[in-house]
Symmetry: C2
Subunit: 318 residues, 2 copies
């Protein structure tokens, strides 16, 4: 059943013993949403506990400070920022068919919960959690403010993406006034890279090659490069957008070698060129601006096939 945040707030105020689920490979928005809601519920004297298939990455630990673990059997299960139960991850899958409430901003939400509140105009689920906590009549302290700010800034790429709305900016301003250390949060989220990431980036930048009169750039990441640099999964974030950051590049390609020797191809488009259509030629898909597919062969063979498809889409010589 579709519900409003007001209805959710009324329900939450009456109920107790909440499990709050975040999606696997957790990001700032799902953790921020969960932690903010958990804190608000505890401030009302209720028992509430966050759960996630994956451990929360170290850089998000400040969102969880002081949230001691509580052990109890749940009466209410809430999913935050989760569009589909597939995203719960294996160890949380047992909750898939018993989720009472879902608070989410993904337009693709499949309405798996008994009650759902979905607002695709929200840049981040924490924007919805902010309204929810206001409706619950809980005072927003500095820890809650940091959770809400974090969700907004991480989901908007520090207010850079098209999803950031005037409302996003205004809620962020409110959270700063309530104690969110915006500059510190943004430095950790956007201006900090691990030594391993640095080493990997050095190697990846050295592979950058240009095609189509500079409108296409391609990079690759081999398993050897990952191993030599000591990079983990966290360190791969955003690598695929490096090529299209170069002036004049309209389509960026990243090829990442997988364990079986095949390549995972990521295509990013700045322009009217449809990345999804390019990837569809190789059995992949995605969005117009970001899509992917998988190919086998040598680096040179694979790159040549993808670049050929890009050239055709751009209407340019290779």
């Amino acid at each position: 059943m579709e519900n409003s945040l007001k209805e959710a707030a009324a329900f939450f105020r009456e109920a107790d013993d909440f499990y709050i689920l975040s999606h696997q490979y957790p990001d700032g928005d799902t953790i921020g949403s969960g932690a903010a809601l958990c804190r608000a519920l505890r401030k009302l004297g209720k028992r509430a506990q966050m759960y996630c298939h994956d451990a929360f990455p170290g850089k998000f630990q400040y969102l969880l400070e002081g949230l001691e673990k509580q052990s109890f059997e749940p009466k209410v299960i809430v999913a935050v920022d989760i569009a589909d139960t597939q995203l719960l991850g294996n160890s949380m899958m047992s909750y898939a068919d018993r989720i009472d409430w879902c608070i989410d901003h993904h337009g693709s939400n499949v309405h798996y919960a008994r009650h759902w509140v979905v607002d695709p105009t929200a840049a981040a689920t924490t924007e919805m959690i902010y309204r929810l906590i206001q409706e619950m009549d809980v005072e927003i302290d500095s820890k809650i403010a940091e959770c809400i700010y974090t969700g907004i800034t991480t989901d908007t790429g520090c207010f850079r993406y098209t999803n950031a709305t005037p409302t996003s900016y205004r809620i962020a301003a409110d959270m700063m006034e309530l104690g969110a250390q915006a500059a510190t949060i943004n430095r950790v989220m956007f201006d900090t890279k691990s030594r391993a990431r640095l080493e990997l980036e050095r190697r990846v930048l050295d592979t950058m090659a240009f095609y189509c009169r500079g409108k296409c750039a391609a990079i690759y990441v081999t398993r050897q490069m990952v191993q030599e640099s000591g990079a983990g999964d966290d360190d791969m974030d955003g690598l695929a957008s490096l090529p299209r950051q170069v002036e004049g590049v309209q389509v960026g390609v990243m090829m990442r070698e997988k364990e079986d020797g095949s390549f995972k191809i990521s295509v990013r488009s700045n322009s009217k060129t449809n990345a999804s259509q390019i990837c569809a030629q190789f059995g992949g898909g995605g969005h117009p601006a970001a899509a992917g597919c998988r190919l086998t062969g040598s680096i040179e063979e694979v790159r040549s096939r993808v670049v050929q498809a890009v050239a055709q889409a751009l209407g340019e010589p290779i």
Copy 2:
């Protein structure tokens, strides 16, 4: 004489024939401030023309669209975002002692103008220009909104620096509602690098060396590296902050070789270590978080001297 924005607005509404001066090496804030004010004055039917010692970089051209050149003798000279007449640049120096109004957000402003409005709490001078235009009772159109947004986002590093206040965020939100294309502006300002910059960054990252148990990192840029990569002055922006982006680095050092073979040293600090005090040992200075000095010698000699000073400041072995 110190004045309020209200007084400035009253004066501007009565006067005519304005020259608006931006500082040399113009950035988004001085150009955005000048262009917003120029547009507002023209909307009141007045003659107004922007001037700057340097040409405005191509990436800021959208701020100037439709602002055809007007030729006239000035009756009022306004300096925007200029703390000191030294920053006018040679070709504008003839105006240094006849500036009628100065609108600026630098606390270091030396009050060189007949009338000045200085607000160090503003993250960008465009925040002040916004209030000024409101006081002038001029409707803010989408072009003016883009000028104001641009000054705020560039001076706050896309809302990342500590100078960004809730007010900065709220004005940005207002400007988006009035037509500023925030995501496009931020992509151009923060997610686009020239091929030359990319080539330079590759070379510079290869020079990165770590000291003081990873708390200090140093890079260098030689004239040869600049030449080989084809980089211009624009392409040097922000290079000095690359070292301190690495996890664990508290003090970052960049050494840039100058025409005379000496090195310009930039020290950036994330922590309580005072960059200004480090540079003062070599006759330089600056702020606690960002300072500079100049040294002569070989790369190795110069780096060793600076790293030694950093190590001492950090209380770490080299």
